[in-house]
């Protein structure tokens, strides 16, 4: 069997690799990820170094110009991209995993007291804005690093995952193959694993992508209102810096806008993957 035939047998993979949105999104995402990983190696300067003349337009020497202090914006973006990915991975994973566990148990035990309590918790957290929590937390934490920020985002972003996963679990639980496994004497654990968890994979994968993007956007908005990490650098912090130091009024568009463009491209690539995968996983949308 040739590779193509094998590929064709796995419908999801086959369609994913044929879906332009997925391909474009994935290529951009991977390119940015690689850039972030090797960022410090290819960065021409350190992100805190006074690399050249201040107020410099983008040029070959400074691809994204320099800041008011003469820092190289391109180098800052390379370093900042790393933190942005960290936030996405840590915040997104944490939010997804917590939401998954809670939604899963609530869904599997739906109608029970456990479900009621978990969902009450979820609904309460859903209406408390992350920012309010962060303001309270910041009073207790002397410093916030990127990881701390990601964890806070992760710990506050799970409720809607929990709700979505709960309803998924609920609908899967009532599927007839679950009943068939039950009358085939399968253990509860095996049913949960094979019949419910596996079937949620594609859904959870999409949720994860959205959580990833969501964590990044949340971190940027937090950075922007000054609740970002108190150490390190991220795309949000670069933009916040640019605004604080009047980059817009002073006409330094490269400082204010280019990091935002990179961020937009990153988040857009994720949404591309997401809508693309939506078409892949959902056969009625497979046609293009």
């Amino acid at each position: 069997m040739s590779f193509i035939d094998k590929l064709k047998k796995n419908d999801n993979l086959y369609f994913a690799l044929r879906n332009k949105k997925v391909i474009i999104g994935a290529v951009i995402f991977l390119a940015l990820l690689i850039t972030a990983l090797i960022g410090p190696i290819i960065a021409p300067y350190d992100y805190e170094e006074f690399a050249g003349a201040p107020y410099a337009n983008p040029s070959f020497q400074h691809l994204m110009g320099t800041s008011i202090f003469g820092r190289d914006v391109f180098s800052q973006v390379l370093y900042g991209l790393r933190s942005t990915f960290v936030v996405g991975f840590v915040g997104g994973t944490l939010g997804t995993v917590i939401g998954l566990i809670i939604g899963f148990f609530a869904g599997y035990r739906s109608g029970s007291m456990l479900d009621e309590i978990l969902m009450m918790m979820t609904n309460i957290l859903l209406v408390i804005p992350t920012i309010a929590l962060l303001i309270i937390l910041s009073a207790y934490l002397p410093y916030r690093g990127v990881i701390t920020q990601s964890m806070i985002i992760g710990f506050t972003s799970w409720p809607w995952v929990a709700r979505a996963v709960r309803s998924q679990t609920l609908s899967l639980r009532n599927k007839e193959f679950v009943n068939l496994s039950r009358i085939s004497g399968a253990s509860t654990f095996k049913i949960i694993k094979d019949d419910i968890a596996y079937n949620m994979f594609s859904y959870v994968f999409m949720v994860y992508i959205l959580q990833f993007a969501g964590a990044i956007l949340t971190s940027v908005s937090l950075d922007f209102i000054g609740l970002g990490p108190t150490k390190g650098i991220s795309l949000g912090l670069i933009m916040q810096d640019a605004v604080n130091w009047n980059a817009i009024q002073l006409g330094m568009w490269w400082w204010a806008i280019l990091p935002g463009v990179v961020l937009t491209v990153l988040v857009t690539s994720l949404y591309f993957i997401n809508t693309g995968l939506d078409e892949v996983f959902n056969p009625t949308l497979r046609e293009m």
Binding site: E48, F50, P54, Y55, I68, F69, G70, S138, A139, P142, Y143, G226, T230, K231, D241, V243, N244, W245, N246, I248, Q249, L250
Partner: protein, 560 residues
């Protein structure tokens, strides 16, 4: 859809009403729009709690006996006609005649007496004057005599232009709590402006056309001062560029670069653009290793490139501080002992810093690039400034880099302001930058009394000397200085000794002189204070009107 329109309608009505009630438009050619000293919606005008009061409450409404111009070192009689030491322990204040409160009552010795007396009766913010005065006496309708237990010349001269005089007929029947808790809406004073209205983001002062000083000092230019609450310097810059803001007391990055394009004025045409206002100081915790070693502290002082900070972070809008930290205004400069400065001073010199470290046993034992203490303990220190104080954050990063370059492992960290405050007051930090009470004043005593405050024997300290540097001898010298007459040979001698101790022991390192940030738009007003036209110290911050802000107002001229 229907509900959307309903909400939209309600919102637009609210917005409309909002803008009608607060957005009254004034004739711009007669109105001065200012910003930089108002951070919240104005809700308090109580001169007994000046730290809460809306800027202008003291100065524009309630006036002081004297004003002070740091540019000329001129302690100028204001409500007072004159004041003099009639003996070593008696100070006689003669008041101007013909001053009335805005409600028509005459201003006289009773009001001055009341202002002093009430702080004897109640525990008020300035009650500590009774530590050194013993009595206040009405000599005549326009004369008041203060009797001193201790003749603290320097402290007194500062008090004279700090304390506003309150109308006794308004306040005398109030209890202590009433006095301290009232918002005092519609403040009633003797000053050149009156309360007109208040909005969510602004305070509007209207000129008092019957002001007693019109004939003596001149009538203030603006009919109204609209004092805006502006959320940040970038907003202020935008407003300045569009001519929506006349006077800004914000630190604004980029001003040197663009001021000529938008017709903005600063005090100096070129670097340093701004007058100095206060000193940013590096404090080190004297109770922690290795900051308890004066040699280590000196090494730190040599490792900091303050010129780089001034040039890069501030675009030369500030000047690096001199070794003594004394701002070069006449009142402080005259006390700088140049010999002490040369013998014990410091400057940016990494080689020297390394040398001091090496000579005193700080060596890199574990070869991680950073020195260890003479006992061999690793050193890893944090330099903190509040998160969001962007200029200081940048400066701290440069300092940390400089310190690491000489082998001292320091990281710049940015806790939230509340955390910073708590560390500053309770201790526990390694290094921090602060400038809280280092503003220009009539006397360097205010500076020393803060930077080497002797009030360090409590769990929480609030009076400065954040590193809790203890030197009883130095503390005594600062007290002695207070007792020595201003300008006397004795006072200069003591000053030199204080400077020597501070430089030798280096409990704190003066870094740079923060500017009296001032940018003015010439769209509607001219004749702002500048180097060529030094008509006042251009500040509209609360508590600073009487050190030059009032003069600026008097000299302002409309463009049309």
């Amino acid at each position: 859809m229907k509900s959307f329109w309903r909400i939209f309608l309600v919102l637009s009505i609210v917005v409309l009403m909002f803008s009608m009630s607060f957005g009254a438009t004034y004739d711009r050619s007669k109105t001065l729009v200012a910003g930089g000293g108002l951070w919240n919606t104005p809700t308090n005008w109580n001169p007994f709690t000046p730290w809460n009061a809306t800027t202008g409450t003291v100065g524009l409404v309630y006036e002081t006996l004297f004003t002070y111009d740091p540019l000329t070192d001129n302690l100028r009689p204001w409500l007072a006609e004159k004041g003099e030491w009639v003996s070593d322990s008696e100070y006689l204040i003669t008041l101007r005649k013909g001053i009335t409160w805005v409600d028509g009552n005459t201003f006289d010795a009773n009001d001055v007496y009341f202002t002093f007396d009430i702080s004897r009766k109640y525990e008020l913010s300035y009650s500590n004057i009774w530590n050194y005065i013993s009595d206040v006496q009405i000599v005549s309708k326009y004369e008041v005599k203060i009797i001193f237990k201790e003749s603290r010349y320097h402290e007194w001269s500062y008090f004279l232009y700090q304390q506003p005089i309150m109308p006794h007929h308004v306040w005398e029947n109030m209890s202590q709590s009433e006095l301290l808790e009232t918002a005092n809406k519609y403040p009633m004073g003797t000053g050149m402006y009156k309360y007109e209205s208040v909005g969510a983001d602004r305070m509007v002062w209207v000129r008092n056309d019957n002001w007693w000083g019109n004939s003596l000092f001149g009538k203030p230019g603006p009919e109204r001062i609209v004092y805006m609450q502006i959320s940040g310097n970038n907003v202020a810059l935008g407003m300045l560029m569009k001519g929506e803001l006349d006077v800004s007391n914000f630190f604004i990055p980029g001003v040197p670069k663009i001021k000529s394009f938008y017709g903005l004025e600063t005090y100096y045409k070129d670097a340093p653009y701004m007058l100095p206002e206060n000193v940013a100081i590096l404090f080190m915790d004297d109770n922690k290793e290795p900051m308890n070693d004066s040699n280590f502290r000196r090494a730190v002082a040599f490792a900091i490139d303050t010129k780089m900070i001034a040039d890069k972070v501030y675009e030369s809008q500030v000047q690096p501080a001199g070794p003594t930290g004394l701002i070069p205004i006449d009142s402080w400069k005259s006390y700088v002992d140049t010999k002490t400065e040369t013998d014990y001073g410091f400057s940016f010199n990494p080689a020297k810093a390394k040398q001091i470290l090496a000579e005193n046993g700080y060596k890199d034992i574990n070869k991680d690039g950073f020195v260890e203490t003479p006992e061999g303990k690793t050193i890893s220190l944090e330099l903190i400034v509040p998160n969001g104080w962007t200029d200081w954050m940048e400066a701290a990063k440069i300092m940390a880099t400089g310190l690491r370059n000489v082998g001292i492992n320091v990281t710049a960290k940015f806790p939230d302001y509340s955390v910073f405050l708590s560390l500053r007051q309770k201790g526990g930090f390694d290094m921090l930058i602060d400038n809280a009470s280092s503003s220009v004043s009539r006397t360097p005593w205010t500076y020393w009394n803060w930077v080497a405050s002797n009030r360090i024997y409590t769990d929480e300290i609030t009076a400065g000397n954040w590193g809790r540097y203890e030197n009883k001898d130095l503390f005594q010298k600062i007290v002695d200085f207070n007792f020595a007459k201003d300008g006397s040979a004795e006072s200069k001698k003591i000053a030199a000794e204080i400077e020597k101790t501070l430089l030798e022991d280096m409990p704190s390192v003066p870094l740079w002189y923060n500017g009296m940030w001032f940018q003015a738009s010439t769209a509607y007003w001219t004749n702002y204070p500048t180097e060529e036209n030094p008509v006042g110290y251009p500040s509209t911050w609360g508590g600073k009107w009487q050190i030059g802000g009032l003069d600026m107002l008097i000299n302002l001229k409309p463009v049309k």
